[in-house]
Amino acid sequence: MKKILVVDDNVVNLKFVDKMLKSNEEYKPVLVPSGSKALQFLSKNVPDLILLDILMPEMDGYQVLEEIRKMPGVADVPVLFLTAEEDEGLQERIKTVGAQGFLLKPFKQDALLKLVGQYLA
């Protein structure tokens, strides 16, 4: 089983990603609605992959990742951003904060599975 942490403040988004990932029996998604909940989970668990929303209240995706990279044990877990942000410089910023990649919302199931598959081989 591959444990995948999904972080998004929007429950509808969480349910979508959950549904898409579960089509692969090997994947076990863990859903959390905020950055602080994600860090709480990561303090005790090490997932195989983290899917992270960017635009969230309180702590945004960039800030969450910054914290993750400081945490022993999970600092090396690959992180993919799931974002509807089409801001200029998004690619650059994602590289500088140290994410492995990103997927623009709304995305199709096969696009998500393909990207996720690259990091869970």
């Binding site: 988004n13 549904k19 209240p57 709304p106």
Partner: protein, 482 residues
């Protein structure tokens, strides 16, 4: 606003395909496609859309002018709307997100209520189709409207219940008497559907009573009538009805009319609520600023009294006496406030006089006295930047001018001296005479009175001086002194 009119077609069958067909206000084809053509999952997402709605969060951010928070919320609304196939709402949310990103507050202010109305409308419509799936506790933020139908025909009431009870709370009464009885019992409807023709009390009588009662005057009333009689309608509008519906009732039209009226009324009451909240916020802020302003003035006044240990509290007392005189002159609240501030600060120029002179116990030499006499000019110089309240400058600069022109620094006379300075001059002299000084004790009240009387027309403005004499005469126990 556009309305999606849903024909009533009985209970939910439980069959997902049938239920989805009832979601006529959504682009279900698009939504299903998003949901990988899984009908059950689609309905789950639609329910989540209602249960985890961001209505209250949006409202909180909006009222708190928290635009970055607002942006996150409309962003979430935009993407959720896209998933369920709510195209109009998605487009509106997207425009709002862009506006919030640019902090285009004007655009947000103009469109926020429209967005909320659309959003709520959709939440209500979905809840009506999926009452069993949606966890109502979670979605309790959506207001459930109550509609009161008053009609002596049971059949008509039944039609209304059938058409509207999925979306709204329905109360029924067969007569005016029964209706008012239920109102007295505490039912407060959001809308009244009123039959015009009834035995005993008819619709006109009932609306008259409603509109005459402060508790119910704001409730919109819709008349139901058989006749297409123009005069009945005109009379109804005059009596305060908001709309008419002709019998026999057409379900689609009934639903559309009621939706529209409730939207407008709810929007209006929300706007009023918001105006109240915002007005209160401005008032609070203004009050805070006023308090701060007063505290700063008081602190400045304290600096003078701290320096001059023999005249402790002098500024406060001069201010108090000045305001007493101002009241007798018929000053307004605003004028009194300015007078109070000016009097509190009249001696601020003493800051520039050496401590040795200010606190000297023996008589001053001519040279020292000349120095003391510069304090109005120093004060004027300190306060000249306060141009919004010129009285403050005038008080400090001219409170040693005499009515006959023998004062300083400019030797102004009569009405050429600002009135505020003439008032402070009288109050200042009165306090000087009624305070303990290093070189003498406090004078008796008679002595003070005769000194003041002697100065009328020479040092003092005769009218203002006379007012002070009157204040002294009214002060039987001689309570006004240091």
């Amino acid at each position: 606003m556009e309305h999606d009119v849903r024909q009533f077609d009985g209970e939910n069958t439980g069959d997902t395909g049938e239920i989805i067909k009832q979601l006529t206000f959504l682009n279900t084809q698009e939504g299903l496609q998003q949901c990988m053509d899984d009908e059950d999952f689609y309905l789950d997402i639609v329910s989540t859309f209602v249960e985890d709605n961001v209505l209250e969060d949006m409202q909180t951010c909006y009222l708190g002018n928290d635009w970055s928070g607002y942006r996150v919320k409309v962003h979430a609304l935009k993407s959720s709307s896209a998933y369920i196939g709510a195209e109009e709402l998605r487009a509106k949310a997207k425009r709002m997100e862009d506006a919030a990103k640019q902090e285009d507050v004007e655009y947000i202010n103009m469109n926020h209520h429209h967005l909320v109305a659309m959003y709520e409308d959709l939440l209500r419509n979905i809840t009506a189709v999926l009452p069993k799936r949606i966890n109502l506790e979670a979605s309790s933020q959506i207001k459930q409207f109550t509609i009161f139908v008053v009609d002596d025909s049971r059949l008509n009431r039944q039609v209304v219940v059938e058409v509207l009870s999925n979306t709204y709370n329905i109360e029924e009464a067969a007569s005016g008497q029964e209706f008012f009885q239920q109102l007295e019992e505490g039912i407060l409807p959001d809308l009244v559907l009123l039959d015009v023709h009834m035995p005993r009390e008819n619709g006109h009588d009932i609306i008259g009573k409603l509109k005459a009662d402060e508790r119910y005057v704001h409730i919109p009333v819709v008349f139901m009538t058989h006749d297409n009689d123009l005069s009945t309608e005109l009379q109804g509008f005059k009596e305060g009805a908001v709309d008419f519906i002709t019998k026999p009732l057409n379900p689609a039209l009934l639903m559309a009319r009621i939706n529209r009226i409730l939207d407008l009324y709810y929007l209006q009451s929300k706007l009023q609520e918001e105006i109240q909240i915002r007005t209160q916020a401005i008032l609070d802020k203004t009050q805070q600023m006023t308090i701060m302003f007063e505290e700063i003035i008081q602190a400045l006044a304290n600096t003078i009294d701290a320096k001059d240990k023999y005249t402790k509290g002098h500024s406060d007392r001069v201010s108090k006496y000045s305001v007493m005189i101002g009241k007798q002159l018929g000053y307004t609240e605003m004028q009194l406030l300015r007078l109070k501030y000016a009097a509190l600060l009249h001696d601020i120029g003493k800051i520039g006089i050496p401590d040795g002179i200010i606190n000297k116990t023996g008589p001053l030499t001519d040279e020292e006295f000349e120095m003391v006499k510069t304090h109005p000019v120093i004060g004027g110089d300190i306060l000249k930047t306060i141009t919004s309240v010129k009285d403050i400058y005038d008080g400090a600069m001219y409170h040693h001018e005499h009515y006959d022109g023998s004062g300083y620094p400019e030797g102004l006379y009569g009405k050429g001296i600002p009135e505020i300075a003439r008032i402070i001059n009288v109050a200042d002299s009165y306090d000087a005479m009624t305070s303990h000084r290093s070189y003498r004790g406090m004078l008796t009240q008679e002595k003070v009175r005769s000194e003041l009387e002697k100065g009328l027309g020479s040092q003092f403005d005769p009218i203002i001086g006379s007012i002070m004499l009157q204040i002294i005469d009214d002060d039987f126990g001689f309570t006004l002194h240091e």
